[in-house]
Symmetry: C2
Subunit: 337 residues, 2 copies
DNA sequence: GTGAAAGCGCTAACAC
DNA sequence: GTGTTAGCGCTTTCAC
């Protein structure tokens, strides 16, 4: 769509052949120094840049990565994307993004759209719907077509590809233990991710911590939020039905913020009456009142690793041993615990 | 990098020529029905898809849009991006993103990287540094190279291109008036965007509203935040130096959230003692306690319009009358005003 | 009804 | 030291 100068035009203006110009631009030993100088001067004058599409067609590599994420409004995904972009950019890769909006159909569409030679490989995190339906034929198809893929955070264990995850179970286990060790007697778990493996793993971590703690008196109580509108009523109900709770672990900060609102309205003190630990080190948690303690998933690192692994695989496509990188999480204690 | 099937392979397997296969796939009237059926069956079997790079090279259009944004962690930009992606996707366009991190050098780099035939045009919002330095040679260069460009939100008035903006001055003016009409007597303005035109416009709107309101007793007080670390001290100082303030308008919700924290710590009541209006309808404001009143910039609409305008221009590149679309904003009154 | 050939912009093997 | 040619995958004009 642009009026980029081509080798052809340079060649014509200099009365040289296209290949001479091409070689001159590469400082080929075959070419006369004068010619090289002339060619490069003109190329500079016209700001010549080799056409990327032509290069791709010739080399059969696009130097671009397809990134498919469920929801760009989620801070975690934005930050992973930032990590991917940094690393990709550093290695001369561009990134094309596609938003699945947590829908299987959009995820399939994204994969199909981009597997027409637009990208060299994919980085993706599975849509909620896809994981709820345990669908993964589309992933297999893409891999069979020869596209390397790196999954992060929400991954499909049965798919043979590289992965970058956190240890969700351990993160939740540790956070729960932290609360137990700080003398919390009744700890509730609120999850908006029960359809996802990561949600299930976090719940396991929470439940195990309770089970293994001597003298913990209650059964685990897990509240499952199926969609956005349920946050408020579920939390109101929780505070009424369990007046004796003194700590809550949530799988996302939206839940934690709703909880904060509910607790403030009831006039309870945080963290004295109720402690809270959220998930994701975002603005929401840093700027809440009181500032929310959270599990930091290290999103930047996840993105960076995902990109690095994909680029590495692109270099040596033969190797078949897929790796799963586990990125360390960190409990960030602020004012709510 | 993949093993996509090509026309050549299909042709070979069917003992046909490449051009026949190509035509058959397009249901050309020239081709025998049987042949068409055979070709299409095989294409389907192998999941044939025309190679995008080849198509681009041939047609001299990539069907992709380059999007350069300052900061993906900012909810506003994420949401604009979502709007762009939706609209682009609907029209068969892909999007390549590049993050400038508010740096001029990265912005220039992004433009240079993508102007090698990778994209058909650009959508961008200017980096803080770029606007602070009033630099815009790189924009002119890109436009001269024939790339259409749509700027949104942070735009350069002197650049001839399509633009999508909001009326920042009016938005701030209206919000300030709202506070005045609700009997607020001393209204402060906090800005983290004073280096940007949009920041200046908002401040003008705020100041004008005060000036034009009969009986307003104070001079405008504008607090300028130069970087993240200044929020907390500046706000602490504000609350001490002006114990009589009863309303604040901010240019971003981070400032508003810090203010909320400061006010809570002082034990003041919101909105009784102090009213607050922030900027951007994000999670932060919805989930704050109390829920923050804000000016909603309609980010989705901005993104959608930007993409639509670019795609439109790509269709008819000749027309030279550039448009500036002003998207309507809305004051969302919640619990802090 | 089918195929050959040119050309998009580039690289690289191979002449001269 | 420079130029010709082929080919990446595709579309399209023109021959047969």
């Amino acid at each position: 769509m642009s009026n980029q100068v081509t080798l052809k035009q340079l060649a014509k203006e200099l009365n040289l052949s296209i290949s001479t110009v091409s070689k001159a631009l590469k400082n080929s030993y075959e070419i006369n120094e004068n010619t090289i100088a002339k060619v490069q001067a003109l190329a500079k004058k016209y700001n010549y840049r080799p056409n990327r599409m032509a290069l791709s067609l010739k080399s059969n590599q696009t130097k671009t990565i397809g990134v498919i994420i469920p929801n760009i409004l989620n801070y975690f995904f934005s930050k992973v994307l930032m990590g991917i972009e940094n690393e990709a950019s550093k290695n001369g890769y561009q990134i094309i993004i596609y938003l699945s909006n947590n829908k299987l159909s959009k995820e399939v569409e994204g994969l199909e759209m981009l597997s027409d030679g637009s990208v060299d490989g994919f980085i993706l995190s599975i849509a909620k719907e896809t994981q709820a339906m345990a669908e993964n034929e589309h992933f297999k198809a893409i891999i069979k077509e020869g596209y390397p893929m790196v999954m992060f955070d929400r991954v499909a264990p049965e798919i043979a590809c590289d992965k970058v995850i956190i240890d969700d179970e351990k993160a939740a286990y540790d956070a729960t233990n932290y609360l137990l060790n700080h003398r919390r007697k009744k700890i509730i778990y609120i999850s908006s991710l029960s359809a996802l493996d990561i949600g299930k793993n976090r719940e396991t971590g929470y439940a195990n911590a309770l089970k293994q703690y001597k003298n913990y008196k209650h059964k685990p109580v897990a509240i499952h939020i199926k969609n956005k509108t349920e946050y408020k009523p579920a939390i109101t109900r929780l505070l009424e039905q369990h007046p004796d709770i003194d700590a809550v672990l949530t799988t996302d900060n939206v839940a934690a913020m709703h909880l904060l609102q509910g607790i403030h309205k009831k006039g309870l003190k945080i963290p004295k009456d109720i402690a809270i630990i959220g998930f994701s080190d975002d603005n929401l948690s840093r700027l809440a009142y009181p500032a929310l303690s959270v599990i930091d998933q290290n999103a930047l690192e996840i993105g960076k690793n995902a990109a690095a692994m994909l680029i590495e695989r692109l270099k040596s496509k033969n190797s078949k041993d897929f790796k799963t990188k586990v990125v360390a999480t960190k409990l960030v204690v602020r004012e709510t615990s």
